[in-house]
Structure formats: C-alpha cells, structure tokens
Amino acid sequence: MLGVRTGWSGVTVSEGQHAGSLPRVPTAGFAAGFATALRRAGLPASPDRAVWLAAAFEVVTPSTRDRLYWTSRAVFVTSREQLSVFDAVFASVFDGMLDPADSRGDTSGPPAVGSEPRTRPTAADQRPSASAENDPRTQQEPAPSAGGDGSDQTGPERDAILAVASAEEHLHDVSFAELTEFEISQMQQLVRRIVLSTPLRRTRRSRRSSRIGGRLDLRRTLRTAQRSGADTIRLVYSRRREHPRRLVLLCDVSASMEPYSRVFLSLLQGAVSGAHAEAFVFSTRLTRLSRQLALRDPDRALATAAAATPDWAGGTRLAESIRRFVDDFGRRGLARGAVIVVLSDGWSQDEPEQVSAQMARLKRLAHRIVWVNPRKVAPGYRPLVGGMAAALPYCDAFVSGHSYAALTELADSIAAERMLATQKQRTG
C-alpha cells in the first residue's frame, strides 16, 4: 500500500530463510534495488549512495540481518527524521525474506508498515546471541529511547510515514488557491520591511573601522603597509560587525486559524526565502518548514509545505507545540537571542497553566516575543481566558494580523527596539 514493495526487484531468494543467515545476494544489484525502494518512500537515496553500500559490503559482509540493517542504515539515512521511514522500508523489503526477528528491540519505533499483524518469533529463531551481547537495545528499556516522545509515539510516527507516502492526497486536502500577483508583491514588501527591522546583535565577525577605539587589526594593518610600501604604517582598526537577530516564526494552522493560514503561510514563506528566518507550523504537532518554504517560487513553496505538514486544520496543542519547539530546537540554540513571532489565536486544548509554563521557558531563551492574533480586532475581544491570557504576560508585543494592513503593525513591533536603540545611540 505504500508503493514500497511493488516494484521491488533487486533480490531473488529461495524460500525458507532463517533469521541471522542471509542468502548470498549480488551486492551491487541489492544495493541499487534497496536504494530505489527507499527513494520511492521519500528518502534521498541517490545512486551514489547505492555505490557506497556496495563498497560497504566489501568490508562488512552482510551475513546477518543486524549487519545488513546497520550497514545500510549508516549509508542511506541522513537525518533522524528518516529513521522511521527507513525502518519501515527495511522491514517491508525483508518481510518473508527473513524472519522479522525484532533485533533492534526498539519499542519506540513504528510498526513495520504492511507487516502487521506480526507474530513474534519463537525463542529458537531469536537473534544471534553474539550481537545480543553487544546491542544495548536488546535489553528492555522501561523508558522510551531517545527523543522521549512518550506513550503516544506510535500514532504520530506512523502518520509521518503515511505523509511521506501520500503527498498528493495532502495536496488535495489543503487546496491552496494560487496567490495573485498583487498579494505576492504586497507580501514581499511587508517581508522586506520586517527583515530590515529585525533588531541587531553583535557578532564575532569584525569589519574595518576608521574610528580609533576598536580592536587593532594587525592582519589588515600589515597588508595595507605591504601594499603601499610606505615607511609609516597606518593603523587599521576593526569593530564588531552587527547582524540582524534570527527571526523565528511559529504559526498556528489549526482549524480555528484556517481563514488566516494561507496569508500567514505566505508571510512565513517570504521571511524564510528572503531573510533566512526559521518557520514552524503547529496544530496538534510541530512541523519545521524552513526547508520547504525556502523555495523562491511562492506557489511551489506553499504546496511543498502543505505536503510536509501532516495535521492541517486539526486541534490546537499550543503548550505541547511550544514545548516541542523549546526542547527540540529552541534550547539547542535556535531560539537563543532570537526574535520569536507566534501567529495564533491562542485557543488551545492544553491547560492554561501548561501554556504559561512553556511560554516562560520560551521567554528565557528569546530576545523578544511578538504575538500576532488575528482575533484581536473582533469587537469585544479581550484576551481574558484560556491560552491567550496565559501567554500574554510573556509577550513583548501583542498585535493583530487580520489583514495585510494589520500585518504592518507586526513589522513596527519587531522594529520597535531597533528604533529605540538608534535613538539612544544618537543622543548618547
């Protein structure tokens, strides 16, 4: 059903193979066939990787399932996100060919797609004992292994595989109308304004400075002296260069935000492709879209982004999404000193206390948090309850974004600090 097994034709095996002993397969043909199966499932398994795998089999004889698994995994997988898809393809390819002895013992992994219901191997069929000694995963772990996704892991992980497999379906679901020329140019203008106004920070890089008082730059001083050949050396100073802070956009794409999703997403797209901003969307789970949105063509970028997001117009797990962001990206450096823009109506299934706790964590990392809430303009709207009220104390600015005109307010609020700083410089 995933299109993985159909068309798989790299290997011919005799019936009745047992776990732990692989048939002798022509390695080059095997590598090429496996690469094709992986590519169909959405992994970037290029032909030269297949060549690597063939070379790898020269040094690691693929005589057991374990060896085959780890060798091809090291070669074909290029990021953690691909592990679940890889495992699924690996399992489906080897279904029937080998006993699916769960030699990884990794309980957090997804069920092998297409192979359930699966019967556990009998004790006699168990993995080779030598590798069991070496492999920590064969010991049962009470805790979820890396990532700590918790108990609900099987669900979303499974979704991810399906999302990879059926990109077209998602496109139908989301159906983005194409942007008009006018909308595109409006958006670009707006984004340019935002980009120009992100606050600065000092970087480690330096630039030449004519003013005395910076750091004496010996390298440049000597080079200048060499060039001019003069006896007197003119001292060259350097100053720390200033750089706009990183801009991170977190956009709510749950059902309640649907009327605004398309506009906000094109804002995200402009910011990513024009300003190297980082973009995430969330409803029940968090998805990083920076890569998908980096395409120059807005329509194509939006289509790719839609395909990559498994949960358009779902419920809202605001606290959970912020927690994911902080844990998986923010703490590692992405949010540190950054300007963070949250685009959400603040309606959430999570408890307000949770939202408040996660916002506090985000606040400790970020330089500035701007909240864009399109419902702010609605008559009688007051952010008194629920997630919005909980989040508000941690926001540096709270703006509306129900229209293009209103979004310019966002640019102003991002710019606010820079204007202040410039004024201070002038007067001080």
């Binding site: 070669v75 010991q139 010996l218 964590r361």
Partner: protein, 307 residues
Amino acid sequence: MTGPARAGAEDDVVQRVPDVAALTTALDGEDYLADLGLATAMFLAVRLPQPILLEGEAGVGKTEAAKALARVLDTPLFRLQCYEGIDAGESLYEWNHQRQMLGIRVAEARHSELDETDLFGEQYLLRRPLLRAIEHAGPRPAVLLLDEIDRADAEFEAFTFELLAEAAVTIPELGTIRATHPPIVILTSNRTRDLHDALTRRCLYHWIDYPGPARIAEIVRRKVPSSAEPLAVEVASAITRLRSLDLAKPPGIAEAVDWVSALAVLGVDRLDPTSVKMTWGSVLKNRDDLEFAGARGADWLVGGDRE
C-alpha cells in the same frame, strides 16, 4: 566522491581494524562502549573511508566516540569546535603577525636583509586544526573532529568540505599542501539548523540512541572505579526512571557519572531516599525539573526496581 575510486583504507589501518567486532573490542579497551550500530557506522567511516555525521542527544558520547577512535588507531585527534562566525583564520591557518613585525624590527636592528619569503616562512605560520589534520605525517591518518558543525555558517561548512574532498590546502605564500594521509573525519551536530545537502550527501550518518540502564551502569563503573557495584546499577535504573518523566533537561550519562561520584565521596554505597535527597542537585539541573521530580519523591526514584 563518486564511486569506489577511493581504494579503501590504508593497510596499517586495515590491520588495526579488521572487522566490526575487532573495532568494538578495541573501543571497549579504551573504555568506550559502542553498540553494534555505532561500531558498524564508525567501522565504515574508517574503512570506506567516508566522513561520518554523528547526532544524538547531549551527553550520549558523540565527542567521546571520536576521541576513543583516535586512541584505538593510536593517532592524534584534531578537534575543531565550531561556532558562529568561525573562519579560515581560526580553522585553517593564520600568519603570526606579531612575530612578523618583531622579525622586521630585529632585522632592522641587525641591519640585515629581509625577504618577503622570510616573513612568510613556516615559522610564522599558525597552524589550526584543519591544516594540522591535513599535514599530519602519519604513519596513520589523524582523526579530525568537527564538533557542532551546525553552529558554523553554511559558507564555512561548504568551504570545509571542499577542502576535505580535495585533501589539500593552498596557502598563497607557501604553495599547496597535500595530505599524505587524508584524515578520518567525524562531525557532530546538535541540529540547531538544517545542515546543507552538500554536507549530508557526503557523509555517513548515525543517530546515537540513549543507552539502556545496563549500559549506563557499565559506563559508570568504568568511569568511577571506586563506586560500589550495586550503587552503579541502582543509579543507572534511577536515571532511566527519571528519563521516563517529562523533564526539560533529562539527565544524561554525565549526570549519572557525577551522581555516582558524589555518592561515592559521601561514602554512600546503596541508593536510599535520604542519599537521593542530599544529592538531587548533581542529577537535575533545572528548577522546574527539581520540583517535578521532587513531587514524585525520592522513594519513588529508589523503590521502582522492586516492582
């Protein structure tokens, strides 16, 4: 980068690392416990040879893996800690300008002739890790660790990889330096940004999972030989239990080692609620986590293994 043009590893390396099991044993001998997956991936990196990108949570031993590998091959480790704004002057080479100026003054004082070639001689060259790894004279290739490559700029990433693919550096004043033993390259990343396709295309990849309690206990025993054996086992299972909570900063292997060291210093040889209460601080380093775990209680943490 295309095809089996590379003739595999050098004979000396092949002899030291004949197969995956031998590498596992050798790493074990250096007190580094690698599971089959990591050992296979590192074996391929050494034997193909091909750069390898290691990822995993903080504290699962990415950097340690590179260090242990260098010890196994009995070869130097050159480590480049990446950061934003790192450039060629900090990673590859830089001229020692202060010394050059001094050289000029000395030559003037002695009224001796000074050529430009004198000023750009080897003695004025500051060698940074990339250059040193390429220049390494052998007999075996050096291990080059590019730590936290995701912190460097994308341009630096591209520059580094071009250099490593060529295994040669051109210094305008000196000429081209070509590696006689191209280094074994290990990269680590914390995923603060997406790495460039050009990089991932050229690397093997391994995600290091967090180890189970038995392995943690084994690591702890190796690192803190003075600790009593039951203590290591109890701490390992307590750490695993803590990791099952939804903590902001789940304790890692370093915390397990710290904790056992702390308990050993206090003269504790069995983990009990009292000793846990005294030593929370060496395991949990975040106020929210402390409150959260404290609410579950020290008894829960200690008593879980009697379930």
